[in-house]
Symmetry: C2
Subunit: 606 residues, 2 copies
Amino acid sequence: MQLVDFRKTDITDGFWQKKVDLVSEVSVFNVYKRFKETGRFDALSCNWKKGDRNEPHIFWDSDIAKWIESVAFILEKRKNPELEKYVDEAINTIADNQEECGYFNSCYQVHDKPRWSDRTDHELYCAGHFVEAAVAYYRATGKRKLLDVMEKYLEYIRIVFMENKSASFITPGHEEIELALIKLYELTDNKKYLEMCSFFIDNRGNETDVEYPGVAHKYSQSHLPVRQQKTAEGHCVRACYLYTAMSDLARITGDADLLDSCKSIFNDIAERKMYITGGIGSSGRGEAFTIPYDFPDLTAYSESCAALSLAWFAQRMLLIENDSKYADVIERILYNNALSSISLDGKAFFYVNPLAIRTYLLNRNTSQENTSEWLPQTQRKEVFDCSCCPPNITRFIASVADFLYTCDKNTLYVHQYINSSTETDKFTVSQKTDYPNNGTVEIKAEGVGTVALRIPGWCDNYSVSVDGKEIVPEIINGYVYIRNNGSVINLELDISPFIVYPSSKIRDYIGRAAVQRGPVVYCAEGVRNDFNIMTFRLDRKTDFSEILCETCGSYMLVANGKIPVESDRLYSRDAEQFTDAEIKLVPYYAFANHGESDMEVFMYYY
Amino acid sequence: MQLVDFRKTDITDGFWQKKVDLVSEVSVFNVYKRFKETGRFDALSCNWKKGDRNEPHIFWDSDIAKWIESVAFILEKRKNPELEKYVDEAINTIADNQEECGYFNSCYQVHDKPRWSDRTDHELYCAGHFVEAAVAYYRATGKRKLLDVMEKYLEYIRIVFMENKSASFITPGHEEIELALIKLYELTDNKKYLEMCSFFIDNRGNETDVEYPGVAHKYSQSHLPVRQQKTAEGHCVRACYLYTAMSDLARITGDADLLDSCKSIFNDIAERKMYITGGIGSSGRGEAFTIPYDFPDLTAYSESCAALSLAWFAQRMLLIENDSKYADVIERILYNNALSSISLDGKAFFYVNPLAIRTYLLNRNTSQENTSEWLPQTQRKEVFDCSCCPPNITRFIASVADFLYTCDKNTLYVHQYINSSTETDKFTVSQKTDYPNNGTVEIKAEGVGTVALRIPGWCDNYSVSVDGKEIVPEIINGYVYIRNNGSVINLELDISPFIVYPSSKIRDYIGRAAVQRGPVVYCAEGVRNDFNIMTFRLDRKTDFSEILCETCGSYMLVANGKIPVESDRLYSRDAEQFTDAEIKLVPYYAFANHGESDMEVFMYYY
């Protein structure tokens, strides 16, 4: 199976084109501005001295790298000399300050700490992100400078870790370089990079692998050799970057044990450890996976980067196995946690994506401390101290077309329904749809072979017609397979709103249910309703009415239910009295765009 | 109105006599043993030196004092030379180590810190508890030694605070001495102590009152002059000890402004800030009152001492105003939060009393830290580091008869239904009942006047008969008033189990309800049920069956409802399926006596 990557695919117009435009025209500039203001770009000059403002931080190189990669992805589709100039300046500065041996780290080079002495630091992580950026920028512009810098750096890393073994640890404390090495291998075909990737993956969790200081081994997936790991554990972003590289490696090398771990871990996440929004990480402690079926909504961690990393893991699995469960997870992330992490104006970002907000708790100050300190942020911010998410979101959206199509010799797989055109060896494809706003999809594939369309897991009513004639298609692992000879294929998905019931194994939502319309999860927001949304009980037989919402680019919903008549008695033998009420729901991704407000995804129902 | 205090009242047998016996025969010895082992008694010798084990702590004197007071209360009812010997030894040590000026503090006397330099320390708090102990021990035994020591100490305190004003603060950081001064005033009739109490109360919250360092003024009720305080704020035990003394002072002096504050604060607690168990303090941060209607169950703080302090505040209000709301709150505390704080075997104690336990969260370790650190303890412990609760509970239960009766010139008020006999100027009273196990109460009051019986707030069906003849009694503010001339009065309270619905203003229990039988709040425990209690939905039309439980001295209940059929799909369009189920409920006070277990007071219902 091959990825039909975003460079071959054009998103033509509609819902996602607007998001790509927003990222290309607003977000990437806003992130640049804030990175400039906070000293991240200046740090590349490696001339910070004690006492100066803006002390370089060990994460900063990765922020810059992801921003460069975002620009590279944007430049693939549209010229932008201003952005290109910014990147070239940064790359020149990096090249000028690369050490003779190849080392580059804007934080370590201005601090006294010995290199490769601390696994908790992010030297290899930053190097990995720079490698990704170098590959992307070379592909977009043909400019080799950053690529050369990074190939030199990697050779130095190879000598330190694989030849001299002179670092104080064997595998990175924060995985990332593994998947970057795969990208470089796929660009250069140089086996050295595949070997380096194998080295870091194969040594992880071995007895000789150094403990991640201060925390349990699980935190950095070092508790077991990777081929014995069968569940998702520890810090979510670390974990999914590792799993992404593991599945890359399994695909390339055909390593069955490694693949078995990837499959098992993916199922553990998708079936037991993933929020309805596609978010992962139920606990802020360690930003980590916890136990199965553990989905607190108020304190949901659901870090933006974690959801993105899961999408990339799922995307790699799609290259190995044609099962819609992977694309279903990607879709869940795309329309929910990924989009919620960026504001509708493209300027601000969530690090953490809660599934409920109760503003009264923010005012629940005790006289000593504020209990809200363990509550997630309730408004997006323009770049924060630990700003991994903003440039991660921009590179994710700029390359979102990566998730649409894969192909093998005979078959084109259509995983996501987004207005687009693309080309494979067999087909010239155009897809027309207003998805997710409606469920009509038209696909025209010039060429002879098979077209496979994903039937989304949420959809229980659909029809397929070929050249205007309805067919009863064969479904295998969530895809309908259609023999094609330049036909017009129409897929009609019933996208009407429905109620989603959580498993009774989830203790966090007892008595509550959520609402979806197609792949879009909805939420109630206090600012849109003139009663306390928490007290609303949804009538599970409700009809939904739909109102087009210009600002969020999709539909608001109105549902029926009841709200209690307020009672002053704290505890009473008299049962609550109710009055009928209507509740307005907005797409989850659009919450917190109208000021501080209560919010709830899972509502009590009757 | 006068208190008919516990020294005049004998609890004769039944539910509470067993508790008093347990405290007198087990708990007080167990607490002694643990205080001995931890160095609290040795500390009184004031010879600890740096490097020695068991460094004296600023709270320790108060632990000893409350333990002495517990023994004094026990000795009022039964001889116990062993306990008396322990107390005399402790008092001798205190007297031997009192300084010339009168100062005694086993912690300060072995540390370098200047006296009266730090309002966060508990010098006046410890002194206050010693004063209470001295009054109680003198009353029980006629022995003056501790009383003399404390009167000398108080004179020194008066000079430091009121004459020389040489302390670095004006009012104590932790209130307690105020109510102790009232007790000493009522014993000695020495106005000096009333003036000292007024001094500390009147100066609290004035502009000149020193800020409690590091925390907001509200923490120590120093945010406003007390007569302007109308809501319950800050650290709950501090607050209620202050309110207790304020109501004492208002009663004695007739200060209408002070009384108005007391009434308003009491209503704020009883109507907006009290758990169904009588607990107060919704947040562990600052052990404090938070906003109205804020009752998290899993993270309920509900400190044992806080509930006790509220009972004392309510008891003082009963001496001012004949309104059953005060005795209702006392009853709620007696049968729930007060009793839950001590194990059924009398040996172990809760500091914090949660209203729900979800054991799976205790195992929700992330690889970095355990999220359970913000969860309350789930099992009682034998004395802990900050051991204010154990000796507070022993003194509370040993003097529980203090809550039964008050009287004025003509009327005997019966507030609590407990097997007992007592005497007032007018009446010789005997009360026979098996309350709370059944609702039949027989009261015989030899003498002529009025007998007033409280109709509990939870009771919606009752009858009264006098000498076998049912009457239709007048009810004023929750009491039925019966003209009496040596009659046998029978009160029949319908004590059958019922469902309690929380106000819809409480966001923590939406869709959930509790069960009470009489004043006893029930809970579901995992160890008693073979399904996941959290998923149980109570049929609100259920009948209850009752099973006598020997170990907890009351009834278990069985109720009907349904539990969901487990579903593996995380999120599904299919609604939950249910099967019928019965749930066993135990009195809340008896929870956590059978090992680690899930527990829930508020259950989902339909």
